[in-house]
Amino acid sequence: MAANSESNRVNVKEMINKNKNGKNMSNLTDAVVPAILFMIALISVLTTIGIIYTLLSEAIEFFRRVPIWDFFTGTVLRPLSQNPEFGILPLINGTIISSLIAIFVAGPIGIMTAVYLSEYATDKLRRTLKPMLEILAGIPTIVYGFFAFTFVTPVIRAIFPAVEATNILSPGLIMGVMIIPMIASLSEDAMTSVPNSMREGALALGATKLEITFKVVIPAALSGIISSFVLGISRAIGETMIVTIASGSSKNFTFDITQSMQTMTAYIVEVAGGDAPAGSTIYYSLYAVALTLFVFTLMMNLLARYVSRKFREEY
């Protein structure tokens, strides 16, 4: 026994010594690891800087060749003609019109869906419906583009023959379907966070569920609903494949939704996919358009955050 405890004591001493050395090693790791992790975390900041730097530096080169005023006020976009003209207004026009069509579809339907899920549906029904709706958001946009081009457009043209084979209407509608789940789920979050005491107060005064919805819940959740709209529009502005496939590449400056129009994103695909030689004005126009797109979506995203913070009701 004595010998045993003797050897034990030695072992402990050795262990302590060993641990001390080991501690030094792990002290070193503990000093180095935060630095490494910090550098990894900086990658996301570098990505942003990279995006802004590439867009800005190439766009500045573009504005050396094409005056910035002409770019933002020009209604004619003819990058490939003999006397190329670079007016971005046709693209902005197409982008805004398609996004407006999308929000006209997704806004009302999204809100009604949110109302149904948060005010009317039973827990069980909500738990089945919500994941099914979320599938809509997970479908790749190329699939929606295919659907808009090969199904929705022919159906529309069967009813209204005047609609062109590529038009802004059908991709707009399908983009609307795509952003329904986003608007529905953000609005539902806003509505479920309205405290029940407010609903019960209205109920006690004799209001029906419908009256509670329109006079209590929606006003109280308005900031969340508006910010979901803004985010939905931002998503529609940045959406690419649906419009690239189904809305054609005519650079029309028109408000006629039956016609083909091009959006900023579709222009980028067209020019980058074609062979715009590096260094040509067309090549640089890519970055000027992308910069405009980036600023548009960034402003919408900041606006959404501002609205939901500024006008949030505190309970």
């Binding site: 900041v45 009604m112 869906t113 479908i139 699939v143 569920k209 992308a290 979506t297 919408m300």
Partner: protein, 294 residues
């Protein structure tokens, strides 16, 4: 009883209740609208494409002849892309999440990084394509190869991975890491031995969902100039490639010239959707299996 006339109240209440139930049905129909479109889309794609899927379609080479065309090339291209996206996003995403959750001091820098990540999530995917084109394809001179495409997609889905990894790490109960510190473990030992293994299911779930998003992304690839030609199969990170969504894109565009291409596009969409469905199923499986096991 001067103030309340029961019959009058009842009469009014009836119309109000009727309105309520009418609107309830309207709201329900609105909820169904998206699902109906989804059903039409899927039925349409499946009925068009299912007949074209056979062994030859899965393993054959691309061909302009619709009857002989196969999608082995795009399938391999997509697999190669995933071989880049998985390790890169896991490494960068989990690293960033660990830093933000466990190491960063609550201060300006940390809030800059966090705000930046939420802004990055809102940047259109096509802008990432331009970043990839400028940085990876041209500046680093990779060309439009697997590595350039994979890195571009990694940066694109990085915010999703970071946010879900942060949530997974936050969900690990404090007493686990406290016990580890109590045993004399250092911070990194605690992270490596306790926090990461416990958070792993959550991290994997988020990573798989990000991956299924990356599989379907088309816009950045079109900007990188990824072709859909009759290419030799990609065999490494520096080979040119094509991917499933790119193939769908070209077949859809050309379907106005050759009718059969629409069916080929449908068949490829089925394969793509099945892949995404499998990935999502794996994610759900991991989440259910490992939920609350500490």
């Amino acid at each position: 009883m001067k103030y309340v006339d029961a019959s009058l109240v009842k009469k009014r209440l009836n119309t109000r209740l009727l309105k309520n139930s009418l609107f309830k049905s309207l709201f329900f129909l609105a909820t169904l609208f998206g699902l109906v479109v989804l059903a039409v889309l899927i039925i349409r794609v499946v009925t068009q494409g299912i007949g074209w899927i056979d062994w030859n379609f899965l393993t054959g080479r691309l061909s302009t002849d619709a009857d002989r065309a196969g999608i082995m090339g795009p399938l391999l291209g997509t697999s190669w892309l995933m071989l880049v996206v998985i390790p890169v996003t896991l490494f960068l995403g989990v690293g960033t999440a660990i830093y933000l959750e466990l190491y960063a001091k609550k201060g300006k820098l940390q809030s800059i990084i966090a705000t930046n990540i939420s802004n990055l999530a809102g940047v259109p995917s096509i802008v990432y394509g331009l970043l990839g084109l400028t940085v990876f394809v041209r500046a680093m001179d990779f060309g439009n190869v697997v590595l350039a495409g994979g890195l571009t997609l990694s940066l694109l889905v990085l915010p999703i991975v970071i946010v879900s990894a942060q949530e997974a790490i936050r969900a690990v109960p404090d007493h686990l890491s406290e016990a580890s510190y109590g045993m004399g473990a250092t911070k990194w030992q605690t992270v490596k031995n306790i926090l990461l293994p416990t958070a792993l299911p959550g991290i994997l779930t988020g990573a798989i969902l990000a991956l299924s998003r990356a599989i379907g992304e088309t816009a950045p690839l079109t900007v990188l100039g990824i072709p859909a030609l009759l290419l030799p199969f990609p065999e490494g990170l520096f080979d040119t490639f094509t991917a499933l969504p790119m193939q769908i894109y070209y077949w859809t565009l050309d379907s106005s010239l050759v009718d059969e291409y629409a069916y080929l596009a449908s068949a490829t969409i089925i394969i793509l959707l099945v892949l995404m469905f499998l990935l999502n199923a794996i994610a759900v499986f991991i989440r259910n299996k490992f939920q609350h096991r500490y």
